[in-house]
Amino acid sequence: MIQVRGLKKRLRSQQVLNGLDIDLPDGHTVVIIGQSGTGKSVFLKHLIGLMRPDAGSIHVDGERVDPLREREWAPVRRKFGMLFQGAALFDSMRVFENVAFPLRERGGLTVEQIRERVMHALSLVDLDGSEDKYPAELSGGMRKRVGLARAIVGEPKYLLYDEPTTGLDPVTADTINELILRLRDSLRVTSIAVTHDMASAFKIGDRIVMLYGGKNYFEGTIEETKATDDPIVRQFITGQAEGPLTAKNRR
């Protein structure tokens, strides 16, 4: 269970998060939507301490984590797997080493066990046979999937996905959606997924949260989201150029 209260963060002169409250219950997948630049990635980074809030609190499994120092974060972070928006693969390492990295760092597994789990994770994201390539030799979508394999290989309790299906073809994207669902159902993983892909959001999400103006502007189940008559949410999920979201920007 993750609880976020009153989260505020200013970056440069911009108030990116301005009092965000979100509950992320165990075993659920919460999808975060919102326009480009509203602070979705910034929010995910706060959950694992890569950025520190100016105000507000974050509790992970009842422990208050936001005041922790860098070294104290390490055990908390090991409960998490994170897929970065740009994959953030270690470019000096081969795919295999990238995916094996979290396992090796944690220790306690034999070389053989690591190999088995890495190959399994790679096959889950449809990348069997790419383990000896370097990140620079992969396509954008392949990199993303290696990032996903690295995030899930340690079987973390919480998974943070920053745009898991962006840049993938529709078929591969749906494979990833299925994988996210399967992780939730078989391992009871709690997921927070940031996405612009509404088909994916409705498929994988138990709840949808829309960030707007630095706050959780809207929150609801899939049905509630689809049925809402809030003009801002409607414009976003139907993807219209005309509406309150864009009218504000044009002024």
Binding site: M82, G86, L89, D91
Partner: protein
């Protein structure tokens, strides 16, 4: 802050188990692969310095003192400073560019997200490798400079070999060599922390990486030259 980076690194270096594979990799890169440029710098400087000294000393019939001057200058000043400058250009720049790229492509954030402290993984092994490699490279530069000076003065300028050697040994004291090696130790410290700090502070994309790398090299070279002056004052007092 660069001081807190140094403090954290030293603390971890003494309290955590070393990452041997990373350390050996950096030792290979910083130490073994820098030998050619450091050796060339040391050898040629020793030779050119010997030629200049010999010409001047020849006028006052002090030919055989050339060896002593070359050896002491190589050991105390030229060896450590040249090795440090060459390593700043070769290794310092590469370290800053690598860490800077990791920073702007979120690889450092990825490390942190996996519960690995960037200082432990990126800085400590490089620090240890530098502290071992630079004094050894300095010793190599000193040795090649002295050799170069000897070969040139004795075999090309016609200085008398046994007097050359005798004077050199008479006037070069162990503490002169110690002086040079203490300096190189200190320079290694400066170089690695400037390079790592600049790398990890990098912002703003590939332009930022270029800027950090540039700054790391300039700051390192200036820091070496200025600290060399103060170290010379200090060490000549302490080792007198």
């Amino acid at each position: 802050m660069i001081v807190s980076l140094a403090g954290e690194t030293i603390k971890v270096a003494f309290t955590h188990r070393p990452r041997w594979r990373l350390f050996l990799g950096h030792l290979l890169n910083i130490g073994v692969r820098s030998q050619a440029i450091v050796g060339i710098a040391g050898g040629f400087t020793g030779m050119v310095f010997a030629v200049q000294t010999f010409y001047q000393f020849h006028k006052v019939r002090l030919d055989s003192a050339t060896g002593a001057v070359v050896a002491v200058a190589m050991a105390m000043e030229l060896g450590p400073v040249l090795a440090a400058l060459m390593v700043a250009g070769r290794v310092g720049a590469a370290v800053t560019a690598e860490l800077g790229t990791m920073k702007v492509t979120e690889q450092i954030d990825a490390l942190r997200s996996l519960g690995v402290h960037p200082v432990d993984y990126l800085v400590v092994p490089r620090f240890l490798a530098m502290m071992i490699a630079l004094p050894l490279l300095t010793a190599e530069a000193i040795w090649l400079g002295i050799m170069g000076g000897y070969v040139l003065t004795v075999h090309m300028m016609g200085a008398e070999p046994s007097y050359y050697m005798a004077n050199m040994i008479l006037y070069t004291r162990a503490r002169d060599i110690l002086h040079g090696l203490i300096k190189s130790f200190f320079f290694g410290f400066l170089l690695i922390f400037i390079a790592c700090h600049k790398g990890m502070q990098t912002e703003a994309g590939s332009e930022g990486v270029g800027r950090s790398t540039n700054q790391a090299v300039v700051v390192s070279c200036i820091a070496v030259l200025i600290s060399d002056f103060f170290l010379t004052l200090l060490l000549t007092k302490l080792l007198a």
